[in-house]
Every structure is written in C-alpha cells, then in structure tokens.
Symmetry: C2
Subunit: 255 residues, 2 copies
C-alpha cells in the first residue's frame, strides 16, 4: 500500500462569510492565491458543512415553519423550539433518542446525529434562522470537486465535514458528510500484518479521519477557517462517497 | 483563542518492532535524529497503543488463561476463543453488546470498545498471544512525556491512540486512550460566534481529532509508523488526560 510519511494541513486564508449563491470555488481560488498555495494532484480540500449549506441557500426562516402536533409534543419533551423540532423531523426518518435538550435522529441521509445537523448558531444575527445540511452532500462534493479540478488543473479530492457528538465519549469530532475523489472507507481485507496473519481491523473510515484532522485546524469558534487543504492523503484514490460511512440499520447494534 | 493556520504530521522513521522493556523514548530519539526532525515546544507525539502496551509487557500467553463458566458461555454466543473472552471480561466492568463475532464492553478505564481493546494480530508469530491495553494509559502518557521533555528539551505533549469502531458509522478511526500535556477535551463555553451568540457546540474532543489525524498517517497495515509528531496543535495546552473523554454512564444514552 502506498504510504506517505507526512501529512500537511493548510487553512485557505481569507474565505469571507458565505451567502446564498456565492461561488465557493472562486472564493477558494482567491484564498489560495492570497496564501500562495498551489494545489497538487492528490490534495484533498475539506470544507465545512456550514459554508456549503449557506452557498446552497439551505437557510430556513423559522417564522415560516408551522409545527405539527407531533413536533409540538416532542418539543415539550426535549425543550426545544417546536418550529425547530418540525424542521428536524422533516429532515429525519426516525427519532433515535430524545431527552431534555437532546434530540438524536436518523437523518434522511442515514447519519445518526443530534438535531439532524440543523444549526442555529452563526447563521445570521437573527435567531429565527436555521441552517439545514446540504440536500445531497455527496453530490455537492462532486460538484465542488469538478469545479476545483477545472480551476486548479489539479486532480484533487473533496470532503465536506461537520462536527458530530458520539455515543460513550465526550465532545464532538469532525466527520465526513460528503466525499468525492477519495475513498470514505478503506478496506484493508487481504492485507497481512508482519506475522503474516490477515488483519482483523478491515475497514478504516479514512474520510472521517481527514475530516477530524481538518476540524482541528478549523476550530469551532469562528467561520474564519472553513476550508482546509490536506496534503499527503495516504490511500489509493477512487470516486468515493460519504454514504459508504453509513452503517446499515440492520447491521447496527445501537439503533 | 490562539489558532494556527497549519498543522503538520510527520512520521518518526525507523521505529523497530517493540518488545517488553524497550525504551520507547530512546528509540524515538534515534528516529528523530535519523529523520532530521527537531521537536519544538507545543509539538505533540502520538504513539500507537500497540507499541506502548508491548514496551510495558502487556502480552498474555493464552495458554495460561483458564476461562470461567461465564466466559465459556459467552464465547459460544460471540464465537470467540473462551480464553480471549475471559481476558476481555477481566479487563471490563460490563458487557454493552454481544453478538456473533462482536463483543462490545465497557473497559475498566471507562472506554466503550470492542473486545476491551485486546489485540491478537501482529503481536508475534504465535496465535496464542494477546495484547492488553496499557494498565493506565494516562499515566503511561505522562511518563513518556516527562522522558521526552528531558531528552528533547522541548515542552511536548503526548497522545496514545487506538482505533475504535463507532455506533452508526462504518469503519474505525483513531481515538485517544492516553493524554498528557494537551487538553483531551476543549471547552468552548463562553466563546461567541460572529453573531455574538454563545456557541452551542461547547466541547471539542481535540485529543481524538489529533489521534485520528495521526492514525491516517500510521495506517493499519504496518507497525512501521507507530509514532507521529504533530505540529500546530491549535488549543491552549494544559496537563490533560484521556479520562476527560469518557462520558459518565449516567449521562450516556447508549449504554
């Protein structure tokens, strides 16, 4: 297996606040020029879910949302705005856990996550706006990748990342919700260890690992570093999709 | 908040196969010299659980293990060696989920993980040897950190990482099981977003993110890259401990 001995993560400088319709790839190009960064084949661009959703216009004015009876009842249990709960339910296929302040759902994309990934912070000065995940983050990643390849002339990959909580462990970490041009899951079956025994750990969530690495650099407090270029992704590239990371419900012990 | 705009991950070259009693810090020093890498204050060394466990002599000869009746019964259900199941139970406080080929437990350290982190691959040519987690990985990280600070004269941090599966998502990712000299969990409460609203995502599992980043470089297939130096950790440093990452049972919705 091809394996580099270094990985470099570079924040693309000067990405401005994003609004609906903004051309992310053009803004990334300006940032790369500003930072003197020249992308190479094999580099991976990691973009936050937030800027992709905003560019795609996934903001919803809560004043326009009419909560259902189900949303109103659930909102009481979880102590959230019934209009927000209505949006969460409309983005989800089922509720996985509900408790005071907590609503963990299975998103229609298959991700098990808090509040269907709907973000009320940092969208605008108006508390009445919510930001949904991109409609189809793998498709978004593919579109952004195609445009980046055209504009940089380098065969790059793209990951759209978000911060998820986990079962059993405190704190959030970066995970991949959209992937293009790299494997999300790397299958090591058939590889042997030094003793010649087949490896038991057969699948590595490589796109989640790169999403976490970039998240460390992006931080949580600012929109200032929403794009990171990762150089040295060590696995063989292929089309890839974040959908690979969703464990089918039938194989899941925790739903 | 202090925030760098780049993170660099460098594999320390030429770390040999580790045996009980080996001086990891001396071997890292030789590798750094070989690679021309000069550690700086703030750098974080990430070491695999496997080399730390081996240096600490945490190998167990399965021929010496006498399985209890409980282990024999459970081994039938999960289709594992009863002696291995005995070791898993002896390292654990409870079984969280059991199924064919799967035994997820709460390790005595609080980590919810498959097979109590006990590894049968890559320990030796002998299938009859198992490798347990370090007795106290946070204490191991502190010892290694103290020795690295003495040998390098740089105020470095240390993370011991392992690969864990997750609920709901396919594939393993690197997580921190031992931490010294950096925060495992970074609390962002009190920080405001651009709109001046308090952030809702308040805790970032920074040590898990750096563990994942290093894991990407280490890969799974080889023991060849078990030590990675990470430069550019963006959060304020403090003593830290992986114990911060364990969600208390009472606050956990998935145990």
């Amino acid at each position: 297996m091809q394996r580099s001995s270094a990985i470099e993560l570079l924040a693309v400088p000067g990405i401005p606040r994003i609004a609906k319709g903004d051309d992310l790839v053009a803004l990334i190009g300006e940032g790369l020029a500003r930072g003197g960064i020249v992308p190479r084949g094999g580099d991976v661009f990691v973009l936050t879910q937030k800027i992709v959703s905003k560019a795609e216009g996934r903001m919803v004015d809560l004043a326009t949302v009419k909560p259902s009876a189900e949303a109103i009842e659930l909102a009481g249990n979880v102590q959230k705005d019934p209009r927000l709960v209505e949006l969460i339910l409309s983005e989800s296929v089922r509720v996985v856990r509900a408790g005071p302040g907590i609503l963990i759902v299975e998103h229609r994309l298959g991700f098990v996550m808090a509040s269907a990934g709907i973000d009320q912070s940092n969208v605008s000065g108006d508390d009445g706006t919510a930001l949904l995940l991109p409609e189809d983050p793998d498709a978004s990643a593919r579109r952004i990748r195609d445009a980046l390849i055209r504009s940089t002339a380098a065969d790059v990959g793209v990951v759209i990342n978000d911060s998820f909580g986990r079962a059993w462990r405190n704190g959030v970490t970066g995970v991949a919700i959209g992937v293009a041009g790299i494997p999300a899951l790397v299958d090591l079956r058939g590889h042997a260890d030094r003793a010649g025994r087949a490896l038991k750990v057969t699948q590595v969530a490589a796109a989640d690992e790169i999403a976490s690495a970039a998240s460390l650099l992006m931080g949580q407090a600012a929109e200032g570093l929403p794009v990171v270029l990762a150089r040295g992704f060590p696995y063989e590239r292929r089309a890839g999709a974040a959908a690979e990371l969703v464990r089918p419900r039938a194989e899941d012990l925790f739903r």
